[in-house]
């Protein structure tokens, strides 16, 4: 399975990358290549131009600000999972990132790539949506900041314009007393989740993000409700498509079970 031919570009600045994107309509950006690589090897995707972002300097930062952490789009999953700053201030993100694929995938896969790819079962889109992250993008017309709930449009589809590149993501910092949990159900370790649940508790407000059940993450909020009720409501809220490999009814059941377990874990965590 060899990819179709393409022309290769290796811009050294964001501006050059944007210029290339604008110049070539039949082009694709490559960052980690862990999702795009297989698709190109299988010839499911055959861009005429490939724009490699790995030489654009300064996109792999992790910076702590007053209210948020800002993480560069080229930060690798391994970096995110092991960063002391992220573990301290956004532990849900670090925990979820540590479950992505396998060790070698996490060495290359990037935050920006994962969000732009927008797989419905992926960890980072789910966490971004649950935490209400802001995705910072740059394009021909300059910078835009898109709230996660507006960024993910539908399955594998985002609000990015053809000339725009994800540059960084701002995650709200957890406050003292905040709790979280992340659970996923997959057939094997490292597989895409069939259903994933991210849960945060902040001042008695419980936020549940459900991934894998629909085309994009579904975020629900609850105040003072019992775990069983929350789980049942989550199950009722999702409408999974029928699928030969995973029946919709089974997926709904999993949502209920995982939400119940995630809420219990969240309530009991430190």
């Amino acid at each position: 399975m060899k990819p179709a031919p393409f022309r290769y570009h290796r811009p050294r600045s964001l501006a050059d990358a944007i210029a290339l994107l604008s110049q070539y309509s039949d082009s694709k950006l490559i960052a980690g290549g862990q999702s795009l690589g297989p698709m190109m090897n299988m010839r499911l995707v055959q861009p005429a131009e490939l724009i490699d972002l790995n030489a654009v300097a300064g996109l792999d930062f992790i910076t702590e600000k007053d209210d948020f952490l800002e993480i560069g789009a080229l930060a690798r999953h391994h970096q995110v999972a092991n960063s002391p700053v992220i573990k301290k201030h956004c532990p849900l993100l670090a925990e979820a990132a540590a479950t992505i694929g396998h060790y070698a995938i996490r060495s290359r896969g990037t935050l920006g790539g994962s969000l732009a790819h927008a797989d419905p079962a992926a960890q980072l889109p789910l966490v971004a949506a649950t935490l209400g992250a802001q995705i910072v993008v740059h394009g021909k017309r300059g910078e835009r900041r898109i709230a996660a709930k507006d960024f993910f449009v539908s399955m594998m589809s985002t609000a990015l314009a053809p000339d725009e590149i994800v540059v960084s993501v701002r995650f709200p910092k957890a406050a003292a007393g905040d709790r979280h949990a992340y659970l996923q159900f997959s057939r094997r370790t490292g597989d895409f989740a069939i259903v994933a649940v991210a849960c945060t508790l902040q001042n008695r407000k419980l936020k549940i993000g459900v991934g894998g059940a629909e085309g994009k993450p579904l975020v629900l909020e609850f105040l003072n409700e019992k775990p069983e009720t929350i789980a049942r409501k989550a199950r009722e809220a999702v409408d999974p498509a029928e699928n030969p490999r995973v029946p919709a009814l089974y997926r709904k059941e999993l949502v209920e079970v995982l939400v119940k377990r995630a809420v219990a874990k969240c309530l009991n965590s430190n």
Partner: protein, 783 residues
């Protein structure tokens, strides 16, 4: 024959093969550099069933680097079709052209071959080959295949039922009438594929000057493969060399002469240039060889105490679209050995095999894998329906040691096996009694534990008499040679095909004990048909038994001649009291062993370079050839036990403990044997829990990548506790029973039994594999 003391056989010697694999210096087919080689790429059908109206190759041939594009019509000129017509009752003959000409029969069927200067360019060109298909209705499953007016997969057959065989002994009907109860059970195994980590591939090198074809290919049966290549290309066997280097796993997928391989060989001859092909993983999943997908039913007539009076068996197998093997070949063995260690006189079976528009089946490590699940699952069903302890039902029905040899109802004779001993050892190791208590306590907490037991009687090695009796052409013998070089170096060979089983080490140990040298002095030369003797290759679990014994016999003959020469050189009348130990001649004087100064190297030098000093009438040289035909069937046995926990809310399973007690007779190398057991169990569990080659209801293969076809990783499998309980076989000179497939049989049986034990409070029975979480939830949801 004087049997030597075994010092090297049975030693846990780390393998000679390891160094090159660990340091990246293995030599698999794709690593062999062949200057000027062209690359092949196949155009494959996107339809499960379609007429080929036309194939246009003009556009593809215009591309840079493209040398040729061949289709079925071209191959029909250069090769003969495959005719599969063994004289077996109930089996229809079938024929297969090298590449399809009239129609394609499955999603992925190869229809054209592009030859270019690189694989990248060949794939570009393949996309531009224009095939005009007329889609036909497809037979997507067995149900559709056996309908009254079903579309025919093979137009030459009266229906899609390519094989039907029936057997009856005793009076199972009468036993059903007399029985306290007749218990029906079903077992459905999903479609799988072998998935060696190295895909198929080869490099064919045609030498126009010598009119000779050399094929570099990872293959389990180099000589039979050579015979096939020669016949299909209308060459003499002396015009073909098969050279099998290091192979990244076979598991039964690397036996048949596949159409892609024959096409590449023919292309090389046609172009007078080397041509190579490496299958990619998508091709391997879609179009190499599939396996299993069988549905089995039993009807067991039993007494109130659970004793088996009679048994009826039905097997229905989905064989796919093409027969690379006789269609009955795989399912029949299941029926023949089904009763395993259990006593039975009244038995009947019906085995039906049908064609569908899927990739054709082939033998996958333990083609008879479903056997133990079926019989052990039947035992569990008996226990369940009669309210008895499943272990007691097994004990009641199992053959006693004093009743061996025992003749199964099909005429198969089991001897030198220890099923009772291995069962009791497994039961003890898994703490059966203690488990029931823990299970009860866990249930109170809402946790669902299950324990499974599965005894295995594994048919490992088939002798020629078996094939004759079954009407299957072919031999079960194996061939070996041993040569001591003038310097005392020892070379040996056997007609097997290594794919990771450690032959280079284990057989060096056999030679070491047979001849009297150290394993480090011995080098095995295998895989090249110009070098190795004509043997039947590596399949089933015959390597150790058939190959090991042939090598041992050659080594003993060598030992005899070496000592006869030694006696002459030492001035003795006879070799009585002489031994060769680690390459040095020793003398026995009054019960004590005394070393002489005479070494093997010196004996060898004399044999080759000073033949007038040899005993009168003795020919020069130290070159020995031997064949060995094993008994019609050799069996080994084991008992598997495992403990699982079922998450009733999600259907997820966790294996908490896995124990196997095994008896494989004399073990050549305990490392190798244990490793084979681990690997076989792993493959069985992977298939039972995860693997599923799926087609949709229209016959499209929807399992296109390793993201869809799931195989077990290290987090899906437990550690394995192996209890060795080996007792030698009296059926061959070394006492080997063979093994390597029984682990698959035991694993798929034991996990199903464990799951059903966990499900018992719910009153549902899992009867299909893979035991996926959504399948288990679908059962639990009903309760």
């Amino acid at each position: 024959m004087r049997r030597p003391k075994l010092r090297h056989i049975g030693a846990a010697l780390p393998r000679k093969e390891d160094l090159r694999f660990l340091t990246g210096h293995g030599r698999y087919v794709e690593d062999i550099e062949i200057p000027g080689a062209l690359h092949a790429c196949f155009v494959r059908s996107p339809y499960p069933h379609a007429k080929i109206k036309s194939i246009k190759t003009d556009e593809s041939r215009k591309l840079e680097g493209v040398v040729a594009v061949y289709t079925g019509k071209d191959l029909a000129q250069w090769t003969t079709p495959l005719r599969m017509a063994p004289p077996i009752e109930g089996l229809h003959p079938v024929e297969m052209t090298t590449l399809p000409i009239d129609k394609v029969r499955f999603h992925g069927d190869p229809v054209a071959c592009v030859i270019a200067t690189s694989r990248y360019l060949a794939e570009d060109a393949a996309e531009r080959v224009e095939v005009d298909y007329e889609p036909l209705p497809a037979v997507a499953n067995l149900e559709q295949a056996l309908l009254e007016n079903a579309v025919k997969v093979d137009a030459s057959l009266p229906s899609n039922l390519v094989s039907i065989q029936r057997f009856k002994t005793g009076d199972p009907e009468a036993r059903k009438r007399e029985a306290f109860k007749v218990i029906e059970s079903a077992f459905h195994q999903g479609r799988m594929t072998h998935l060696p980590i190295e895909t198929r591939g080869l490099a064919a090198v045609w030498d126009e000057g010598r009119q000779h074809l050399t094929v570099h290919i990872g293959n389990q049966v180099p000589h039979p493969y050579r015979s096939q290549v020669a016949a299909r290309m209308r060459l003499s066997e002396s015009q073909v060399t098969i050279a099998s280097p290091d192979v990244g796993g076979g598991f039964g997928q690397k036996i048949a002469l596949y159409r892609e391989e024959l096409t590449v060989c023919a292309a090389s001859r046609q172009l007078k240039r080397p041509v190579r092909w490496r299958e990619d993983r998508m091709e391997n999943l879609m179009a190499a060889s599939h396996a299993r997908e069988d549905s089995v039913r039993t009807r067991a007539a039993v007494t109130k105490e659970g004793r088996l009076l009679g048994l009826e068996l039905e097997i229905l197998e989905d064989f796919g679209a093409y027969c690379f093997y006789p269609a009955n070949y795989l399912a029949r063995v299941v029926a023949m050995i089904l009763t395993g260690p259990y006593k039975l006189r009244d038995y009947a079976f019906e085995v039906k095999v049908a064609l569908t528009n899927k990739c054709g089946n082939g033998p996958m490590r333990a083609p008879m894998a479903i056997t133990s699940w079926v019989i052990e699952g039947t035992m569990d069903a008996i226990a369940r329906e009669l309210g008895l302890d499943p272990l007691e039902v097994r004990r009641l029905n199992m053959v006693e040691t004093r009743e061996l040899p025992y003749t199964m109802p099909t005429g198969e004779v089991i001897a030198d096996i220890t099923p009772r001993e291995t069962l009791e050892a497994a039961v003890k190791a898994i703490d059966y009694a203690g488990f029931r208590k823990r299970q009860a306590a866990a249930r109170k907490e809402g946790r669902h534990l299950g324990l499974g037991l599965c005894s295995v009687v594994e048919s490992t090695t088939y002798g020629s008499k078996f094939y004759k009796a079954a009407g299957i052409p072919g031999s079960g013998h194996e061939a070996a040679w041993l040569r001591i070089e003038p310097s005392g170096a020892v070379n040996a060979s056997v007609g097997l095909g290594a794919t990771g089983q450690g032959y280079e080490t284990a057989f060096a140990q056999v030679v070491a004990d047979g001849l009297g040298v150290e394993p480090s002095q011995v080098r095995m030369q295998m895989g090249n048909t110009d070098v190795a003797p004509y043997g039947m290759g590596s399949r089933g679990a015959r390597g150790g038994t058939a190959g090991g014994t042939a090598i041992f016999l050659a080594a003993r003959e060598a030992n005899e001649k070496v000592l006869a020469i030694a006696a002459q050189m030492l001035g003795f009348d006879s070799a009585e009291g002489l031994h060769l130990v680690d390459g040095r001649v020793e003398r026995e004087i009054l019960g004590e062993r005394v070393k002489t100064d005479l070494t093997l190297a010196q004996v060898a030098r004399t044999a080759y370079l000073d033949p007038t000093a040899l005993p009168k009438g003795m020919a020069p040289g130290l070159d020995f050839s031997k064949t060995y035909d094993p008994p019609p069937m050799t069996y080994s046995n084991a008992a598997h036990a495992c403990e699982v926990e079922l998450d009733a809310e999600t259907g997820a399973l966790k294996i908490l403990r896995y124990v196997v007690a095994e008896d494989c007779g004399t073990v050549l190398n305990p490392f190798v044997v244990e490793g084979q057991q681990h690997g076989a169990i792993a493959m069985g569990l992977s298939g039972a829990l995860l693997e599923h080659m799926r087609y949709d209801e229209h016959g499209n293969n929807i399992t296109g990548s390793l993201a869809d076809y799931l195989v077990a990783t290290s987090t899906d499998l437990p550690g394995f506790e192996v209890i060795p309980m080996h007792t030698p076989s009296r059926g061959n000179p070394v006492g080997i029973k063979g093994m390597a497939e029984g682990g698959v049989m035991g694993a798929i049986g034991v996990i199903a039994c464990a799951v059903n034990d966990a499900l018992s409070p719910f009153g549902v029975v899992a009867d299909r594999q893979p035991l996926s979480p959504d399948y288990l939830r679908s059962l639990l949801r009903q309760t």
